[in-house]
C-alpha cells in the first residue's frame, strides 16, 4: 500500500547537513468532526514519527490532531557515514510503518 513519499538525498559530503522530507498519506481524523447526525467521526491520527540513523534515534516527533491531513515534515540530519536512514511512524491502531533510504557519504 502506498503510504508515504520520503525524500532522502542519495549522496552527501561527510559532515554535511542534509534535508529529509516525509509526506505521509493519512487523513489525520481529529475526532472533533461532526457527522450529519451530530455524532463525531472518531479520532484516527498518526501519533508519532521517528528517524533512526545507524541504529540510533535522532529525532522523535509527537503528532496531535492539529497536524494537517497527510502529515508533512522537513528536518535536518548531519550525514556522518554511509548507511540506512529509517523513518518510522505509528498510527492510531498502534501499527508501526516504516520506510527507509540509503545514503552514501564520502
Amino acid at each position: 500500500m502506498s503510504e508515504a513519499l520520503v525524500s532522502i538525498p542519495a549522496t552527501a559530503a561527510a559532515g554535511e547537513v542534509i534535508e529529509i522530507k516525509i509526506l505521509i498519506s493519512h487523513p489525520m481524523e481529529t475526532g472533533f468532526r461532526p457527522r450529519a447526525d451530530g455524532s463525531l467521526v472518531p479520532r484516527d491520527i498518526v501519533t508519532s514519527l521517528r528517524c533512526v540513523y545507524h541504529g540510533a534515534t535522532v529525532l522523535e516527533v509527537d503528532l496531535y490532531p492539529a497536524i494537517a491531513a497527510n502529515p508533512f515534515f522537513v528536518f535536518p540530519l548531519r550525514a556522518e557515514r554511509s548507511g540506512e536512514i529509517v523513518l518510522e511512524w505509528t498510527d492510531w491502531q498502534g501499527e508501526v510503518h516504516r520506510q527507509s533510504g540509503q545514503i552514501t557519504v564520502g
Binding site: 508515504a4 522530507k21 509526506l23 497527510n70
Partner: protein, 251 residues
Amino acid sequence: MRALLAALSLGAAAAGAGAEDRRSGFDYMSPQTQAMQADDTANPGMLAVLEGRRLWDAPTGSSERSCSDCHGVPEDMRGVSARYPAWDEISGGATDLAGRINLCRSRHQDAPALAYEGPELLALTTLIGLQSRGMPIAPDPDARLDTWRARGDALYRQRIGQLNLSCANCHDDNAGRRLASAPIPQAHPIGYPIYRLEWQGMGSLHRRFRNCMTGVRSTPADLGSEEFIALEAYLMKRAAGMTVETPAVRP
C-alpha cells in the same frame, strides 16, 4: 488582424478576456500554497499518483487485466488528459476522463465501474493527468463536441440558485476581486484532480462544481452528469492553450 483571429478562435470566451489575460488559479494563491504545489515531495497529489501507479498495474475484474496490459506504462498516456472531455464513438456522446476509465473497465476489463469520487478513480485520473503536466490544454477537435460546448457555454452564463448568480458573474465579471476574503479565480480547470486544502484531500472538477452550486444555493447536478461534462467541455475550450498543472493544490 492577429488579435482579431485570436479573439475569434477563443469563440465564446468572455468579453475582454483575451488569451493574454487568462490566469491560472495558481496565480491567486499565497507563495506557500504555490510552493506546496510546485514541490513533488510536498504535494499531497503525488500520494494519489503513487496509489494510481499501484492500481494501474493491478489486474482487475473477471478479465484479470490491468491497465498496463493494454496501455503499457503510465508515461504512454502523455497528452491524453489534455484532450478531455473527448468524443466516445460507441456511446455516441462526450465523456470525461473518469467516465473514459469506467468505460474501459466495463468494455475491456469486465470490471465494475469505480465510484466517481472514490479514491481509486481519483488516483487513476491524477496519475493520467500528471502525464500531461506542462503541456497545453488541447481539446479534442471532434466537431460533434461543439453542441456539448455550446450547451456548456449556456450553462456557464445561466443564473441559478437563490443567489441568482451564474458562473460568469463571478469568474468573468469579478475574477481577481474577493468573495468572503478569498480571491475569485478565472475558473480555468487546468489542474484537476486537485488537492483542495478545504477538502483535506483530492477531488474532481465535478465536486468543485457542486461546491459552487451549493454556494449560490442551487441544487447541485450529479457527479459525472452530462450537464457537468458539457460545462467541462466548454471550460476546457475556454482554457485551450493554458498549461496543465495536474495535480494542482488549491485553497
